[in-house]
Amino acid sequence: MPSALSLRNISRQFGTVTALRAVTFELAVGEVHALLGENGAGKSTLMKVAFGLVRPDSGSIAVDGIPVQLRSPVEARRAGIGMVHQHFTSISALTVWENVALTAGWSVRRPGVVAERVHALAQHAGLALDPRSIVRDLTAGLKQRLEVLKAIAADARILLLDEPSSVLSPAEAEQFLGQITAFKALGISTVLITHKLSEALGVADTVTVLRHGSVVHHGPIRETNARTLARHLLGEVSIDRPQLPPPVPGNIVVRASQLSVDRLGVGGTGLRRATFSARAGEVIGIAAIEGNGQRELLRAIAGLVRVAGGSLEVTAPVALVPEDRTSEALIGDFTLAENLVLSQGRSAPWIHGPWIDWPDVHARTRELIERFEVRASGSAMLARELSGGNQQRLVIAAALERRPAVLVAENPTRGLDFKASADVHERLRATAAAGVAVIVYLADLDELLAVADRVVVLTAGIAHEMTPGASRTAIGRLMLAGPEE
């Protein structure tokens, strides 16, 4: 088969970290090629090279067999490459047609004509969308469609999809993956970047597996299976959950009854009459699709937002591990010691009246980073100089330092690699074993099932408490019962 996109011996270094080590990747014309790898394996970097966002230190690129230099997304697009990023890149204040015209370089002199053209293209590609909608009002599934539509409108013959299902509900994801196979009929070659085996096995023709910046496996999908791919993907790391003794149910420390919370931000539903409780010593997993009230629930428990209706009783103190490490949990330009002062408030041991005893802060910070194995050069290091995994260790350490009765964690493994995620899971389990009620939301359902004793599903702001043995299918079905299509 002729090659649509060929990346040969690509290497790239970021500071001291080698992201790609002489990687070769061949995309055949008309195929769906899964690029598998854990977070940090280098798959995003490789695709950024293919889209002109990252310049490789060495290696060559060819499109349709012709060598090319891709110095910017503009040049990549000109070569017929379109990319759909992990995060939406459409401009939310503009309409669908404006976003398409912007990317595709169309004239906008006659809006009616442009909208009609966008409509026709959407029909043709099987991506139904109202061209006059404002992007802000679209659901995640429709925004994802728009991302693809923009690429196709810009005459992309090579489509790079970077973890397209990560922001979608299971049903939306399934539908979207179905559409990918349909692109073949349009003559489009697709790279599907994912860390999910099921997606690769479901839609791809060929698979390439990256680990630590190197290709560890390459071949047709029908010649492999889930077990083999998992071994390639993870190396020797065990994916089994550590066996822990069943939790000893403690006292009820969180009791929500008919709890309502107004929605935060623009999207989502808020929380509507949610009823559930949590006991000391258990890990409760919150399963929900983005925007179904999990943020409101967790922040209400943490005491950060006002309760609009119903009642909420929480045993103090509560500690929160917020979702956005770099802007909400830490101040990047502050030292580790300063961040600890920030997190501990006025009841900390180094507070004497209005004064802060800084030598004491530094001593305790050093002790803490040692105890929690935060890899840092010292207490005076800036927080932004830590790696993502070590930042999260510090955040969790600071949260546990408050000796909480309840620990609330919002998607605490976001952006972490496999090992760092496993470390977080273990820390959450150990915290529960020490008698704390842990309430955790994780975007990935499989991850959530691996760490939680039992699950509460949130659908359109309504809570469903599942029994400890509830199946993945039952939970998944309930997550979809909401108003999202």
Partner: protein, 353 residues
């Protein structure tokens, strides 16, 4: 570290003066003569230092401290000029009213009663004037940048109204107020124009330095300015309250500057009392990296510049406001250095892959 800071500060000043020299040459002035006049006006004699530079440093240090406080807490106060005038108007009014009534108490007692009240009234007026933008921001979401700026013009018009109306001198000829009675005046160093306000400014600088370094409240202020989201979420700090207090405190210091100027230097209110102290204060604070102790130094430096500018107007025929060019250049040099530092830090953090 200290040497590097001094070096970069020195570089900013040299660049500022260089840009002024170029601008003056292009406008057809003798830049050499202008800069020489500036130098003499600022450092030419002990008298220049004690009577021209130091008295000017007092409002600049106080306003610089205020702007540093506001910027630290994330409040962009560009209205120190207006807050200064609010303090000046109120100090004049209270000084004239009380001075006339309490004068009978006799020398030491009258001053002990009147002077603190005059200065406190100025502080209060500054707080009220800064309170308007606080209210507008917290209740209605109006950017403090725009509201503080606009209130400068309102304050200037108010001064004009006062000195041609209620506060005009008794003969109703000149657009200025009567002179404050002795009881409302800050004591001066004999034979100079240097007054006790300097001690006040230095003490406040020291106090604010300790506040920022050693107290939890000072820490909360800094956290709010540097990382408002994390301050609210991780630190559970009421960032709106911190914003409000920082801006109000800033207004208090600028108001005090206005009061001290009336009570220590001019003894009367008139239009254009401030040669743009409120804006120079931004340069004072930024060049000092918002550090209260460093603000003493940069305040003195800009005072020398202002004193020199007056001499430049008198001796070289260059309008004193040309010195704004130096101040603007210094502000921009500091901002550029800051942008470059951020850029390098971001690049050091590496690619996003």
């Amino acid at each position: 570290m200290v040497t590097r800071t001094l070096l970069s500060t020195g570089a900013a000043i040299v660049i500022g003066l260089g840009v002024l020299a170029i601008g003056l040459t292009l406008s057809g002035y003798d830049a050499g003569a202008a800069l020489a006049a500036m130098g003499t006006g600022a450092f030419g004699s002990t008298d220049a230092m004690l009577s021209a530079v130091l008295p000017r440093a007092i409002p600049l240090i106080l306003i610089g401290l205020g702007i540093g406080l506001a910027f630290r807490g994330g409040a962009l106060n560009i209205g120190a000029e207006g807050q200064f005038y609010a303090g000046a108007i109120t100090a004049t009014w209270v000084g004239l009213q009380l001075g006339a009534r309490v004068g009978a108490l006799g020398e030491p007692w009258a001053r002990i009663v009147v002077l603190p009240l005059v200065l406190l009234a100025a502080v209060g007026a500054g707080i009220v004037w800064a309170g308007i933008p606080v209210l507008l921001k917290l209740r209605f979401g109006v950017l403090e940048v725009i509201s503080t700026l606009l209130l400068n013009f309102v304050a200037e018009a108010l001064v004009s109204l006062m000195v041609q109306g209620p506060l005009q001198e008794s003969k109703h000829i000149y657009p200025q107020s009567d002179l404050l009675p002795a009881a409302a005046r800050l004591p001066q160093w004999p034979g100079t124009r240097l007054h006790l306000g300097l001690a006040l400014a230095l003490l406040l600088a020291l106090g604010l330095w300790v506040f920022g370094r050693r107290t939890l409240a000072g820490f909360a202020l800094r956290a709010t300015g540097v990382g408002p989201t994390a301050a609210a979420v991780a630190g559970r700090i009421d960032t709106r309250r911190v914003f409000a207090l920082a801006l109000l405190g800033s207004g208090a210091l600028a108001g005090l500057a206005g009061g001290a100027e009336i009570s220590g230097t001019t003894y009367a209110l008139f239009q254009n009392l401030s040669p743009g102290y409120g804006f120079t204060g931004i340069a004072v604070a930024l060049l000092a990296k918002l550090n209260p102790l460093a603000i003493i130094g940069t305040g003195l430096m800009f005072a020398a510049l202002e004193a020199g500018a007056s001499a430049m107007q008198r001796d070289a025929g260059v309008p004193a406001i040309a010195v704004y060019v130096v101040e603007a250049t210094i502000i921009i040099v500091v901002l550029l250095a800051d942008a470059r530092r951020r850029h390098l830090a971001m690049r050091a953090a590496g690619g996003e892959g």
